[in-house]
Symmetry: C2
Subunit: 333 residues, 2 copies
Amino acid sequence: MMADKLLDAIDKKQNPCVVGLDPVIERLPKHLINGDSLKDIAGAYRTFNFEIIDAVADLVPAVKPQVAFYEKYGFEGLKTFKDTVDYARSKGLIVIEDGKRNDIGSTSQAYADGHLGRVGTISSKVPSLDLDLLTVNPYLGSDGLNPFVDVCKRYEKGIFILVKTSNPSSGDLQDRLIEINDDEKDELRQLGLDVKNNITEMYNLVALQVNRYAQGLIGKRGYSSIGAVVGATYPAQAETLRKIMPNSIFLVPGYGAQGGNAKDLTNCFNDGGYGAVVNSSRGIIFAYEKSNNPTAFAEAARTAVKSMIEDICSALSKCNKLNYDKKNVLARE
Amino acid sequence: MMADKLLDAIDKKQNPCVVGLDPVIERLPKHLINGDSLKDIAGAYRTFNFEIIDAVADLVPAVKPQVAFYEKYGFEGLKTFKDTVDYARSKGLIVIEDGKRNDIGSTSQAYADGHLGRVGTISSKVPSLDLDLLTVNPYLGSDGLNPFVDVCKRYEKGIFILVKTSNPSSGDLQDRLIEINDDEKDELRQLGLDVKNNITEMYNLVALQVNRYAQGLIGKRGYSSIGAVVGATYPAQAETLRKIMPNSIFLVPGYGAQGGNAKDLTNCFNDGGYGAVVNSSRGIIFAYEKSNNPTAFAEAARTAVKSMIEDICSALSKCNKLNYDKKNVLARE
């Protein structure tokens, strides 16, 4: 079960931090770039990512490449994406693809098969992009989500469904007050939410749907492989969402560059330091810019990861949420 | 302006039909497949698509490849996707990518640049996937949509924002009754919608946001390059949405295989046969299955397209919505 693997990795590294691998050509150390074609850019991204991975693999449980930054450069970019996924996994890292994929049933099935499961050839089914976890958009409803959930069951993979995203305009739709029916109201109340007059914010309804899916994929350690994206920038909402999705792991973007701080995002966690993983992308991979030393970009990333771990774990410790299971790790190794 | 180009293409072909290029290995004519690797599958898709394009290019204004079916096979699949896009454009077709992309600001920018605009290299900005139009998901709000709209302005491209999708569960979120403010209520009323008590279905709010974007990108012929996805399977909603987005072109999926019929989808059109393009994928590209003659798959697709055109145009004619501008085409050619 992917949720168990992720928790074991958190135990092993004794922190819930994720490094976002989001290369941007304008901010890449210049010495890595050997030419001007899309292939050259994709090649520079590969070198950059591999060195970052080497520098952080012993520190964090997972990395999160954002596929937009790769497919931007066409198939050469997607090749680097796949090489990055494979390299990170060879270094013992769990790989979360930030792809926010979604569509109607049969097309969602294609995304689920390609990104997480297996794809058909003439004689068999084989892994393709073969990620561990993928972010998924819920706007098309259950028949767009079901294929992802099915693939998670079948191949021991995981997804994070977008519930409350970290961006400033996430409220345009997600915060809207919507009408819910009596069953939904009762379910939300049972989960500890104070709902009046059959009205609640839309993100609470999406969270309820995530929780329903989550109950079907709970691992040995009590967490589900069906998780949620909850932005670090919305701590009050995170507190509510933690109640509605007690068994889901939150993927928390928005720490660092987007303005979310460590204290705010402790609401995403349960006791023991579990229940969430926190991503930082630009604050880590472009940390070298502060010292203006491009050749030492990987060391700068390593230093930045250590600071992030200290920051997050210190904040968790202050609210008594830091208590990783060391024995559990040793027993499983 | 992309909206003008699309309307000119509709005039030229005298119909609003789009062929969806969604290959599926299990349904591909066996003689096209020369091996079992991902590259072999992607190669078979390329041959298949090129023959379909050759067979329909003189009949329809546009094709719509669904990128999920290509990226499913990794970078080899994405290479076929790009080759398909380029080949279709070389045959004078407008190419709509069904990608339903979305993310927060900086990442949406990467999607917009890569799929529609230009991407940075060291010395310049160059086209990458370079589609004409792209479908986009609105769940993350305005800062996720703005980069796409900006790229449409800058490079004369277009988008279709998901409003009411064709799938059975699209109502899970899209049909929810939500609270809107007085300004939104007034705006919706001015557009002819009967709104009471500051409550409406969510798709109406999304449509209102689409209309706001649309007003900034209206071409010479009165239509905007910011369009909407409205499923053929929801004719009543289409009638309402046609009012809220008077200048937007609708991309209408769900005809044929998904159960939408020609009469139902006439609500998506304005007078003159404009205001919508109708997609059919499986019903066209796998039409050969009915005659069980795999080697004649392209001819079968051509025959199926002709039937579709006749069906749609006949339905439009019956409600006096068929009156394409022939003079306009000749003047521009």
